[in-house]
Protein backbone atom coordinates (compact mmCIF):
# COMPACT_ATOMS: atom_id res chain seq x y z
CA UNK A 1 0.00 0.00 0.00
CA UNK A 2 2.79 2.42 0.97
CA UNK A 3 4.65 1.55 -2.22
CA UNK A 4 1.57 2.32 -4.36
CA UNK A 5 1.08 5.65 -2.61
CA UNK A 6 4.75 6.55 -3.05
CA UNK A 7 4.67 5.70 -6.75
CA UNK A 8 1.45 7.67 -7.18
CA UNK A 9 2.93 10.73 -5.48
CA UNK A 10 6.11 10.52 -7.58
CA UNK A 11 4.06 10.20 -10.77
CA UNK A 12 1.92 13.18 -9.76
CA UNK A 13 5.02 15.24 -9.04
CA UNK A 14 6.53 14.31 -12.41
CA UNK A 15 3.29 15.14 -14.21
CA UNK A 16 2.92 18.45 -12.34
CA UNK A 17 6.53 19.43 -12.93
CA UNK A 18 6.13 18.69 -16.61
CA UNK A 19 3.05 20.83 -17.10
CA UNK A 20 3.30 24.36 -18.37
CA UNK A 21 2.90 25.84 -14.90
CA UNK A 22 6.46 24.86 -14.07
CA UNK A 23 8.13 25.13 -17.48
CA UNK A 24 9.89 28.49 -17.78
CA UNK A 25 8.87 30.88 -20.51
CA UNK A 26 11.44 31.56 -23.21
CA UNK A 27 12.96 35.02 -23.49
CA UNK A 28 12.31 36.74 -26.82
CA UNK A 29 15.95 37.76 -27.17
CA UNK A 30 19.07 37.14 -25.18
CA UNK A 31 20.33 40.58 -24.23
CA UNK A 32 22.18 41.60 -21.10
CA UNK A 33 21.43 45.25 -21.65
CA UNK A 34 17.65 45.01 -21.34
CA UNK A 35 15.33 44.68 -18.39
CA UNK A 36 12.18 42.59 -18.75
CA UNK A 37 8.96 42.29 -16.80
CA UNK A 38 6.12 40.04 -17.86
CA UNK A 39 2.91 41.66 -16.67
CA UNK A 40 0.29 41.63 -19.44
CA UNK A 41 -2.50 43.28 -17.44
CA UNK A 42 -0.56 46.32 -16.22
CA UNK A 43 -1.53 49.72 -17.56
CA UNK A 44 1.96 51.16 -17.14
CA UNK A 45 5.37 50.00 -15.92
CA UNK A 46 8.36 52.21 -15.16
CA UNK A 47 11.88 51.44 -13.99
CA UNK A 48 12.86 53.56 -11.01
CA UNK A 49 16.51 53.44 -10.16
CA UNK A 50 19.60 55.16 -8.87
CA UNK A 51 20.39 56.10 -12.49
CA UNK A 52 17.23 58.18 -12.94
CA UNK A 53 16.95 59.62 -9.41
CA UNK A 54 14.21 57.07 -8.73
CA UNK A 55 11.98 58.74 -11.29
CA UNK A 56 12.44 62.10 -9.62
CA UNK A 57 11.23 60.92 -6.22
CA UNK A 58 14.55 61.87 -4.58
CA UNK A 59 14.84 65.18 -6.42
CA UNK A 60 13.40 68.49 -5.39
CA UNK A 61 9.63 68.20 -5.43
CA UNK A 62 9.53 64.42 -4.90
CA UNK A 63 7.00 63.72 -7.65
CA UNK A 64 7.56 60.60 -9.72
CA UNK A 65 7.69 61.65 -13.35
CA UNK A 66 5.19 59.43 -15.23
CA UNK A 67 7.53 59.25 -18.23
CA UNK A 68 10.75 58.50 -16.36
CA UNK A 69 12.04 55.01 -17.12
CA UNK A 70 8.85 54.15 -19.01
CA UNK A 71 8.92 50.58 -20.35
CA UNK A 72 7.47 49.46 -23.67
CA UNK A 73 4.95 46.64 -23.84
CA UNK A 74 4.90 44.10 -26.67
CA UNK A 75 1.95 42.06 -27.92
CA UNK A 76 2.70 39.23 -25.46
CA UNK A 77 2.52 41.45 -22.41
CA UNK A 78 6.28 41.68 -21.95
CA UNK A 79 7.52 45.08 -20.77
CA UNK A 80 11.09 45.94 -21.79
CA UNK A 81 13.54 48.79 -21.52
CA UNK A 82 17.01 49.26 -22.95
CA UNK A 83 19.67 50.21 -20.41
CA UNK A 84 22.62 50.22 -22.75
CA UNK A 85 24.96 53.14 -22.29
CA UNK A 86 24.81 53.37 -18.51
CA UNK A 87 28.19 54.22 -16.96
CA UNK A 88 29.88 51.40 -15.07
CA UNK A 89 28.78 50.93 -11.49
CA UNK A 90 26.25 49.35 -9.17
CA UNK A 91 22.63 50.38 -9.53
CA UNK A 92 19.53 49.53 -7.52
CA UNK A 93 16.24 49.41 -9.38
CA UNK A 94 12.60 48.43 -9.02
CA UNK A 95 9.55 48.28 -11.24
CA UNK A 96 6.80 50.83 -10.58
CA UNK A 97 3.54 49.29 -11.76
CA UNK A 98 0.31 51.16 -12.52
CA UNK A 99 1.65 54.31 -10.92
CA UNK A 100 1.44 53.09 -7.32
CA UNK A 101 2.94 49.65 -6.78
CA UNK A 102 6.65 48.85 -6.33
CA UNK A 103 7.90 45.36 -7.18
CA UNK A 104 11.41 43.97 -7.44
CA UNK A 105 12.61 42.13 -10.54
CA UNK A 106 11.28 38.58 -9.99
CA UNK A 107 13.96 37.00 -12.18
CA UNK A 108 16.91 38.80 -10.63
CA UNK A 109 18.09 36.93 -7.54
CA UNK A 110 20.25 39.78 -6.20
CA UNK A 111 18.48 42.20 -3.91
CA UNK A 112 19.21 45.36 -1.93
CA UNK A 113 17.21 47.87 0.06
CA UNK A 114 15.89 51.29 -0.92
CA UNK A 115 14.10 52.97 1.95
CA UNK A 116 11.96 50.19 3.39
CA UNK A 117 11.61 48.37 0.08
CA UNK A 118 13.39 45.30 -1.24
CA UNK A 119 14.70 46.15 -4.71
CA UNK A 120 17.01 44.57 -7.27
CA UNK A 121 20.64 45.21 -8.16
CA UNK A 122 22.39 45.35 -11.48
CA UNK A 123 26.16 45.72 -11.91
CA UNK A 124 27.65 47.22 -15.04
CA UNK A 125 31.38 46.88 -15.39
CA UNK A 126 32.12 49.47 -18.07
Amino acid sequence: MIRIMTITIILLLILTAGCSLFVPMQKPVEQDNRLFLWLPGASSVQVLSDWNDWGGSVAAGSIINPLSGRMEKDENGLWTIDIEGLPGGVYRYAFYVNGYKWIRDPVNPETAVFGSRTVSIIMISN
Partner: protein, 419 residues
Protein backbone atom coordinates in the same frame (compact mmCIF):
# COMPACT_ATOMS: atom_id res chain seq x y z
CA UNK B 1 3.83 84.47 -13.04
CA UNK B 2 7.12 85.83 -14.29
CA UNK B 3 8.20 82.34 -15.37
CA UNK B 4 5.02 81.89 -17.37
CA UNK B 5 5.54 85.27 -19.00
CA UNK B 6 9.12 84.45 -19.94
CA UNK B 7 8.03 81.08 -21.30
CA UNK B 8 5.32 82.68 -23.40
CA UNK B 9 7.84 85.10 -24.81
CA UNK B 10 10.23 82.26 -25.61
CA UNK B 11 7.52 80.19 -27.24
CA UNK B 12 6.30 83.10 -29.29
CA UNK B 13 9.85 83.91 -30.23
CA UNK B 14 10.48 80.29 -31.19
CA UNK B 15 7.55 80.12 -33.59
CA UNK B 16 7.87 81.23 -37.19
CA UNK B 17 5.96 84.31 -38.27
CA UNK B 18 4.92 85.74 -41.59
CA UNK B 19 8.15 87.68 -42.00
CA UNK B 20 10.23 84.57 -41.29
CA UNK B 21 12.31 86.44 -38.79
CA UNK B 22 13.18 84.70 -35.51
CA UNK B 23 14.99 86.04 -32.49
CA UNK B 24 15.95 82.50 -31.42
CA UNK B 25 19.67 81.97 -31.95
CA UNK B 26 20.87 79.03 -33.97
CA UNK B 27 21.77 75.77 -32.17
CA UNK B 28 19.49 76.60 -29.24
CA UNK B 29 16.79 74.23 -28.08
CA UNK B 30 14.00 75.47 -25.85
CA UNK B 31 11.57 73.37 -23.93
CA UNK B 32 9.20 73.41 -21.04
CA UNK B 33 7.22 70.91 -19.06
CA UNK B 34 4.72 70.95 -16.28
CA UNK B 35 4.56 68.10 -13.81
CA UNK B 36 1.34 68.02 -11.83
CA UNK B 37 0.37 65.83 -8.93
CA UNK B 38 -3.05 66.30 -7.38
CA UNK B 39 -4.52 64.12 -4.68
CA UNK B 40 -7.55 63.97 -2.47
CA UNK B 41 -7.89 61.76 0.57
CA UNK B 42 -10.86 61.09 2.75
CA UNK B 43 -12.96 58.59 4.67
CA UNK B 44 -16.20 56.80 4.08
CA UNK B 45 -18.55 58.07 6.79
CA UNK B 46 -22.26 57.55 7.21
CA UNK B 47 -22.75 56.07 3.75
CA UNK B 48 -21.05 58.82 1.84
CA UNK B 49 -17.49 59.88 1.12
CA UNK B 50 -15.97 62.76 3.07
CA UNK B 51 -12.75 64.22 1.70
CA UNK B 52 -10.77 65.90 4.43
CA UNK B 53 -7.51 66.72 2.64
CA UNK B 54 -6.59 67.75 -0.84
CA UNK B 55 -3.27 68.86 -2.22
CA UNK B 56 -1.90 70.02 -5.52
CA UNK B 57 1.78 70.08 -6.45
CA UNK B 58 2.86 71.55 -9.72
CA UNK B 59 6.36 72.05 -11.02
CA UNK B 60 6.80 74.16 -14.11
CA UNK B 61 10.22 73.90 -15.75
CA UNK B 62 11.73 75.95 -18.51
CA UNK B 63 14.79 74.62 -20.28
CA UNK B 64 17.15 76.10 -22.79
CA UNK B 65 20.21 74.37 -24.16
CA UNK B 66 22.89 75.01 -26.67
CA UNK B 67 26.21 73.25 -27.21
CA UNK B 68 27.73 75.67 -24.71
CA UNK B 69 24.95 76.50 -22.25
CA UNK B 70 22.42 74.47 -20.28
CA UNK B 71 19.71 76.38 -18.42
CA UNK B 72 16.92 75.00 -16.26
CA UNK B 73 14.53 76.79 -13.96
CA UNK B 74 11.71 75.14 -12.08
CA UNK B 75 9.03 76.97 -10.22
CA UNK B 76 6.76 75.05 -7.92
CA UNK B 77 3.31 75.44 -6.50
CA UNK B 78 2.19 73.51 -3.44
CA UNK B 79 -1.32 73.95 -2.28
CA UNK B 80 -3.08 72.21 0.61
CA UNK B 81 -4.51 74.34 3.39
CA UNK B 82 -2.44 77.22 2.06
CA UNK B 83 -0.66 77.91 -1.19
CA UNK B 84 3.08 78.28 -1.56
CA UNK B 85 4.79 79.37 -4.73
CA UNK B 86 8.52 79.55 -5.18
CA UNK B 87 11.66 78.51 -6.95
CA UNK B 88 12.09 74.75 -6.52
CA UNK B 89 15.14 74.09 -8.61
CA UNK B 90 17.49 75.94 -10.93
CA UNK B 91 20.58 75.17 -12.92
CA UNK B 92 22.80 77.30 -15.10
CA UNK B 93 25.74 75.50 -16.62
CA UNK B 94 28.20 76.46 -19.30
CA UNK B 95 30.29 74.00 -21.28
CA UNK B 96 33.50 74.48 -23.18
CA UNK B 97 32.71 74.45 -26.91
CA UNK B 98 33.51 71.08 -28.41
CA UNK B 99 34.39 69.48 -25.07
CA UNK B 100 31.15 69.11 -23.12
CA UNK B 101 32.91 67.53 -20.12
CA UNK B 102 34.60 70.85 -19.29
CA UNK B 103 32.31 73.39 -17.71
CA UNK B 104 30.94 75.12 -14.69
CA UNK B 105 27.52 75.62 -13.21
CA UNK B 106 25.45 77.20 -10.50
CA UNK B 107 22.85 74.97 -8.89
CA UNK B 108 19.88 75.52 -6.63
CA UNK B 109 18.36 72.37 -5.07
CA UNK B 110 19.70 70.35 -7.97
CA UNK B 111 22.77 68.28 -7.12
CA UNK B 112 22.16 65.77 -4.36
CA UNK B 113 25.21 63.93 -2.99
CA UNK B 114 25.15 60.19 -3.60
CA UNK B 115 27.92 57.55 -3.64
CA UNK B 116 27.10 53.98 -4.65
CA UNK B 117 28.41 50.94 -2.79
CA UNK B 118 28.60 47.29 -3.74
CA UNK B 119 24.97 46.67 -2.93
CA UNK B 120 23.70 49.39 -0.64
CA UNK B 121 25.12 52.91 -1.12
CA UNK B 122 27.87 54.49 0.97
CA UNK B 123 26.01 57.82 0.80
CA UNK B 124 22.28 57.37 0.49
CA UNK B 125 19.86 59.71 -1.24
CA UNK B 126 18.36 62.17 1.19
CA UNK B 127 21.50 62.45 3.31
CA UNK B 128 21.16 66.19 2.80
CA UNK B 129 17.77 67.80 2.38
CA UNK B 130 17.61 68.53 -1.34
CA UNK B 131 15.53 71.66 -0.73
CA UNK B 132 18.29 73.21 1.35
CA UNK B 133 21.31 73.09 -0.95
CA UNK B 134 22.69 75.59 -3.39
CA UNK B 135 26.14 75.98 -4.76
CA UNK B 136 28.66 76.09 -7.51
CA UNK B 137 30.37 73.31 -9.43
CA UNK B 138 33.06 72.82 -12.01
CA UNK B 139 33.78 69.84 -14.19
CA UNK B 140 36.83 69.01 -16.18
CA UNK B 141 38.37 66.17 -18.09
CA UNK B 142 40.01 65.05 -21.24
CA UNK B 143 43.46 64.30 -19.81
CA UNK B 144 44.02 60.61 -20.64
CA UNK B 145 40.25 60.21 -20.58
CA UNK B 146 39.84 61.13 -16.91
CA UNK B 147 36.86 63.19 -15.87
CA UNK B 148 36.20 65.00 -12.64
CA UNK B 149 33.77 67.34 -11.03
CA UNK B 150 33.84 69.39 -7.88
CA UNK B 151 30.81 70.83 -6.18
CA UNK B 152 30.71 73.18 -3.23
CA UNK B 153 27.34 73.91 -1.73
CA UNK B 154 25.63 75.45 1.24
CA UNK B 155 23.09 73.46 3.19
CA UNK B 156 21.41 75.18 6.14
CA UNK B 157 24.60 77.13 6.81
CA UNK B 158 26.85 74.07 6.61
CA UNK B 159 29.34 73.79 3.76
CA UNK B 160 29.08 70.65 1.70
CA UNK B 161 31.69 69.75 -0.90
CA UNK B 162 31.96 66.74 -3.16
CA UNK B 163 34.75 65.70 -5.51
CA UNK B 164 34.29 62.91 -8.04
CA UNK B 165 36.99 61.57 -10.35
CA UNK B 166 36.23 58.91 -12.96
CA UNK B 167 38.91 57.10 -14.90
CA UNK B 168 38.35 55.91 -18.45
CA UNK B 169 37.74 52.22 -18.98
CA UNK B 170 41.30 50.98 -19.35
CA UNK B 171 40.49 47.70 -21.03
CA UNK B 172 40.61 45.68 -17.83
CA UNK B 173 39.69 48.14 -15.06
CA UNK B 174 37.95 51.37 -14.18
CA UNK B 175 38.49 53.49 -11.07
CA UNK B 176 36.24 56.05 -9.40
CA UNK B 177 37.16 58.24 -6.48
CA UNK B 178 34.67 60.29 -4.47
CA UNK B 179 35.19 62.58 -1.51
CA UNK B 180 32.34 64.22 0.36
CA UNK B 181 32.81 66.67 3.20
CA UNK B 182 30.47 68.61 5.39
CA UNK B 183 31.76 71.41 7.59
CA UNK B 184 29.33 72.45 10.27
CA UNK B 185 28.50 76.12 10.53
CA UNK B 186 29.03 76.22 14.28
CA UNK B 187 31.54 74.53 16.54
CA UNK B 188 28.93 72.23 18.09
CA UNK B 189 28.12 70.61 14.74
CA UNK B 190 29.86 67.53 13.47
CA UNK B 191 32.30 67.66 10.57
CA UNK B 192 32.11 64.63 8.31
CA UNK B 193 34.55 63.50 5.62
CA UNK B 194 33.98 60.44 3.46
CA UNK B 195 36.55 59.13 0.98
CA UNK B 196 35.51 56.31 -1.32
CA UNK B 197 37.69 54.51 -3.86
CA UNK B 198 35.88 52.13 -6.17
CA UNK B 199 37.78 49.76 -8.47
CA UNK B 200 36.07 47.59 -11.08
CA UNK B 201 38.22 45.01 -12.80
CA UNK B 202 37.37 42.83 -15.76
CA UNK B 203 39.60 39.84 -16.40
CA UNK B 204 38.93 36.86 -18.57
CA UNK B 205 37.33 34.59 -16.01
CA UNK B 206 36.27 36.95 -13.22
CA UNK B 207 35.60 40.57 -12.35
CA UNK B 208 36.86 41.85 -9.00
CA UNK B 209 35.02 44.82 -7.47
CA UNK B 210 36.57 46.68 -4.58
CA UNK B 211 35.31 49.59 -2.52
CA UNK B 212 37.54 51.21 0.09
CA UNK B 213 35.98 53.89 2.23
CA UNK B 214 37.43 55.99 4.98
CA UNK B 215 36.59 58.95 7.13
CA UNK B 216 39.05 61.38 8.61
CA UNK B 217 39.32 61.78 12.35
CA UNK B 218 39.72 59.21 15.05
CA UNK B 219 40.83 55.63 14.39
CA UNK B 220 38.37 53.01 13.28
CA UNK B 221 36.72 55.09 10.57
CA UNK B 222 37.40 52.86 7.61
CA UNK B 223 35.59 50.21 5.62
CA UNK B 224 36.38 47.75 2.84
CA UNK B 225 34.02 45.80 0.62
CA UNK B 226 35.16 43.42 -2.09
CA UNK B 227 33.45 40.90 -4.31
CA UNK B 228 34.58 38.64 -7.12
CA UNK B 229 31.94 38.82 -9.86
CA UNK B 230 31.48 36.87 -13.08
CA UNK B 231 33.26 33.74 -11.85
CA UNK B 232 31.13 31.25 -13.73
CA UNK B 233 32.24 27.65 -13.38
CA UNK B 234 29.17 26.55 -15.33
CA UNK B 235 28.32 28.64 -18.37
CA UNK B 236 26.24 27.04 -21.10
CA UNK B 237 23.84 28.23 -23.76
CA UNK B 238 20.95 27.50 -21.39
CA UNK B 239 22.31 29.54 -18.54
CA UNK B 240 25.07 30.09 -16.06
CA UNK B 241 25.92 29.69 -12.41
CA UNK B 242 27.92 32.51 -10.90
CA UNK B 243 29.84 32.08 -7.66
CA UNK B 244 30.36 35.35 -5.79
CA UNK B 245 32.75 35.40 -2.81
CA UNK B 246 32.89 38.68 -0.91
CA UNK B 247 33.90 40.42 2.29
CA UNK B 248 32.68 43.51 4.13
CA UNK B 249 34.88 44.83 6.92
CA UNK B 250 34.39 48.11 8.77
CA UNK B 251 36.04 49.91 11.65
CA UNK B 252 34.37 50.30 14.99
CA UNK B 253 33.78 54.04 14.67
CA UNK B 254 32.48 54.32 11.17
CA UNK B 255 29.23 56.23 10.78
CA UNK B 256 28.57 56.77 7.10
CA UNK B 257 25.17 58.19 6.19
CA UNK B 258 24.33 55.13 4.13
CA UNK B 259 23.54 51.48 4.72
CA UNK B 260 26.62 49.96 3.06
CA UNK B 261 28.60 49.47 6.27
CA UNK B 262 27.76 48.57 9.85
CA UNK B 263 30.27 49.66 12.55
CA UNK B 264 32.58 46.83 13.53
CA UNK B 265 31.36 44.36 10.96
CA UNK B 266 33.62 41.51 9.84
CA UNK B 267 31.47 39.67 7.36
CA UNK B 268 32.49 37.11 4.76
CA UNK B 269 29.91 36.18 2.14
CA UNK B 270 29.56 33.48 -0.47
CA UNK B 271 26.79 33.56 -3.05
CA UNK B 272 25.73 31.32 -5.90
CA UNK B 273 23.36 32.65 -8.54
CA UNK B 274 21.68 30.81 -11.37
CA UNK B 275 20.52 32.85 -14.33
CA UNK B 276 19.16 31.51 -17.57
CA UNK B 277 20.10 33.10 -20.87
CA UNK B 278 17.07 31.75 -22.69
CA UNK B 279 14.34 31.44 -20.08
CA UNK B 280 12.72 33.58 -17.42
CA UNK B 281 14.08 31.71 -14.44
CA UNK B 282 16.66 32.53 -11.80
CA UNK B 283 17.71 31.45 -8.34
CA UNK B 284 20.30 32.46 -5.81
CA UNK B 285 21.60 31.61 -2.38
CA UNK B 286 23.93 33.69 -0.25
CA UNK B 287 25.55 32.87 3.06
CA UNK B 288 27.04 35.38 5.48
CA UNK B 289 29.44 34.64 8.34
CA UNK B 290 30.02 37.40 10.89
CA UNK B 291 33.53 36.89 12.32
CA UNK B 292 33.13 39.43 15.13
CA UNK B 293 29.72 38.35 16.40
CA UNK B 294 26.88 36.28 15.12
CA UNK B 295 24.51 39.19 14.67
CA UNK B 296 24.98 39.42 10.90
CA UNK B 297 25.47 35.71 10.18
CA UNK B 298 22.78 34.04 8.18
CA UNK B 299 21.65 32.68 4.87
CA UNK B 300 19.30 34.14 2.31
CA UNK B 301 17.88 32.69 -0.87
CA UNK B 302 15.63 33.83 -3.66
CA UNK B 303 14.12 32.31 -6.76
CA UNK B 304 11.85 33.52 -9.50
CA UNK B 305 10.28 32.16 -12.64
CA UNK B 306 7.72 33.00 -15.29
CA UNK B 307 6.20 29.87 -16.69
CA UNK B 308 4.80 29.07 -20.11
CA UNK B 309 1.39 28.71 -18.54
CA UNK B 310 1.40 32.39 -17.54
CA UNK B 311 2.28 31.88 -13.92
CA UNK B 312 4.90 34.01 -12.21
CA UNK B 313 6.65 32.74 -9.09
CA UNK B 314 8.69 34.77 -6.65
CA UNK B 315 10.33 33.48 -3.47
CA UNK B 316 12.63 35.06 -0.89
CA UNK B 317 13.89 33.37 2.23
CA UNK B 318 16.23 34.60 4.94
CA UNK B 319 17.39 33.08 8.21
CA UNK B 320 19.79 34.78 10.61
CA UNK B 321 21.86 33.51 13.51
CA UNK B 322 20.03 35.63 16.05
CA UNK B 323 16.90 33.63 15.33
CA UNK B 324 15.15 36.07 12.99
CA UNK B 325 13.73 34.62 9.82
CA UNK B 326 11.72 35.86 6.91
CA UNK B 327 10.05 34.16 3.98
CA UNK B 328 8.01 35.52 1.12
CA UNK B 329 6.32 33.43 -1.53
CA UNK B 330 4.03 34.75 -4.22
CA UNK B 331 2.45 33.31 -7.29
CA UNK B 332 0.11 34.82 -9.87
CA UNK B 333 -1.49 33.60 -13.04
CA UNK B 334 -2.08 36.22 -15.71
CA UNK B 335 -3.37 36.72 -19.19
CA UNK B 336 -4.06 39.86 -21.21
CA UNK B 337 -7.20 40.77 -19.33
CA UNK B 338 -7.07 39.30 -15.87
CA UNK B 339 -4.80 37.93 -13.23
CA UNK B 340 -5.14 36.30 -9.86
CA UNK B 341 -2.50 35.65 -7.30
CA UNK B 342 -1.63 34.68 -3.79
CA UNK B 343 1.25 35.76 -1.58
CA UNK B 344 2.40 34.71 1.85
CA UNK B 345 4.89 36.61 4.00
CA UNK B 346 6.36 35.16 7.16
CA UNK B 347 8.34 37.42 9.48
CA UNK B 348 9.37 35.54 12.61
CA UNK B 349 6.12 34.51 14.30
CA UNK B 350 3.86 36.58 12.08
CA UNK B 351 2.33 35.17 8.91
CA UNK B 352 0.31 37.29 6.53
CA UNK B 353 -1.51 36.03 3.47
CA UNK B 354 -2.64 38.22 0.59
CA UNK B 355 -4.94 37.30 -2.26
CA UNK B 356 -5.21 39.59 -5.25
CA UNK B 357 -7.03 39.80 -8.55
CA UNK B 358 -6.94 42.29 -11.37
CA UNK B 359 -8.93 43.00 -14.50
CA UNK B 360 -7.72 45.06 -17.43
CA UNK B 361 -10.52 45.83 -19.94
CA UNK B 362 -8.16 47.99 -21.98
CA UNK B 363 -4.39 48.23 -22.29
CA UNK B 364 -4.38 51.48 -20.35
CA UNK B 365 -6.85 50.59 -17.58
CA UNK B 366 -6.36 48.19 -14.70
CA UNK B 367 -8.53 47.45 -11.70
CA UNK B 368 -6.99 45.52 -8.84
CA UNK B 369 -8.30 44.24 -5.54
CA UNK B 370 -6.28 42.61 -2.80
CA UNK B 371 -7.35 41.16 0.52
CA UNK B 372 -4.89 40.30 3.25
CA UNK B 373 -4.97 38.92 6.73
CA UNK B 374 -2.77 37.47 9.46
CA UNK B 375 -2.93 33.75 10.09
CA UNK B 376 -3.30 33.93 13.83
CA UNK B 377 -5.96 34.86 16.33
CA UNK B 378 -5.96 38.56 15.49
CA UNK B 379 -6.49 38.14 11.71
CA UNK B 380 -6.25 41.96 11.15
CA UNK B 381 -7.87 41.84 7.70
CA UNK B 382 -7.24 44.59 5.16
CA UNK B 383 -8.54 45.28 1.69
CA UNK B 384 -7.33 47.51 -1.12
CA UNK B 385 -9.23 48.32 -4.30
CA UNK B 386 -7.48 50.45 -6.92
CA UNK B 387 -8.41 51.48 -10.43
CA UNK B 388 -5.59 52.97 -12.48
CA UNK B 389 -5.40 54.45 -15.93
CA UNK B 390 -2.39 55.48 -17.93
CA UNK B 391 -3.09 57.73 -20.87
CA UNK B 392 0.36 58.58 -22.15
CA UNK B 393 1.93 60.98 -19.69
CA UNK B 394 -1.16 61.18 -17.49
CA UNK B 395 -1.85 58.63 -14.77
CA UNK B 396 -4.93 58.45 -12.59
CA UNK B 397 -5.54 56.37 -9.50
CA UNK B 398 -8.74 55.92 -7.57
CA UNK B 399 -8.46 53.69 -4.56
CA UNK B 400 -10.18 52.51 -1.43
CA UNK B 401 -8.26 51.05 1.47
CA UNK B 402 -9.80 49.41 4.46
CA UNK B 403 -8.04 48.08 7.53
CA UNK B 404 -9.49 46.21 10.44
CA UNK B 405 -11.09 48.45 13.05
CA UNK B 406 -11.03 51.62 10.96
CA UNK B 407 -13.20 53.39 8.42
CA UNK B 408 -12.44 52.86 4.73
CA UNK B 409 -10.13 55.53 3.40
CA UNK B 410 -10.48 56.93 -0.10
CA UNK B 411 -7.76 58.25 -2.33
CA UNK B 412 -7.79 59.89 -5.72
CA UNK B 413 -4.53 60.80 -7.35
CA UNK B 414 -3.66 62.31 -10.69
CA UNK B 415 -0.16 62.72 -12.03
CA UNK B 416 0.57 64.25 -15.38
CA UNK B 417 3.41 65.63 -17.38
CA UNK B 418 2.67 68.21 -20.05
CA UNK B 419 5.55 68.90 -22.41
Amino acid sequence: MSISLITMIILIAGGSDSTDVSIVPENWVFGYDCLINASACGKWKENHPVFDSTSVDAAFSVMAASPEVDLLATGALHSDTASHVGFRRARCAVKWPGTPWIGAGIYLNDQQPFIAGLSNPVLEWGWVDIDSIQGFGVSSGGVLGFQGDYLIQLSRGDTLSQLNVHSPWMGFAGVDYSRAQIHAADSTGENITVNVLSVRGDFRYFRPWLIVAGAEGEEGKWAVSAEIRRFRPIDTQWGRIEIVPGMHFAGDSIEFPGSAFVPGQRVITLGAFLESRRYFVSAGIKGMVDLSSDSLSGVSASAGMISEGGVSWDMIFGYYADGDYRAYVSSAISDSYASAGMAMEVINDSTRVTGSASYSPRDDVCAEVSVSGDIDDSLQPACVLAVTTSLGPVMCLAGIEWEYDSSPSLRINLTGLLE
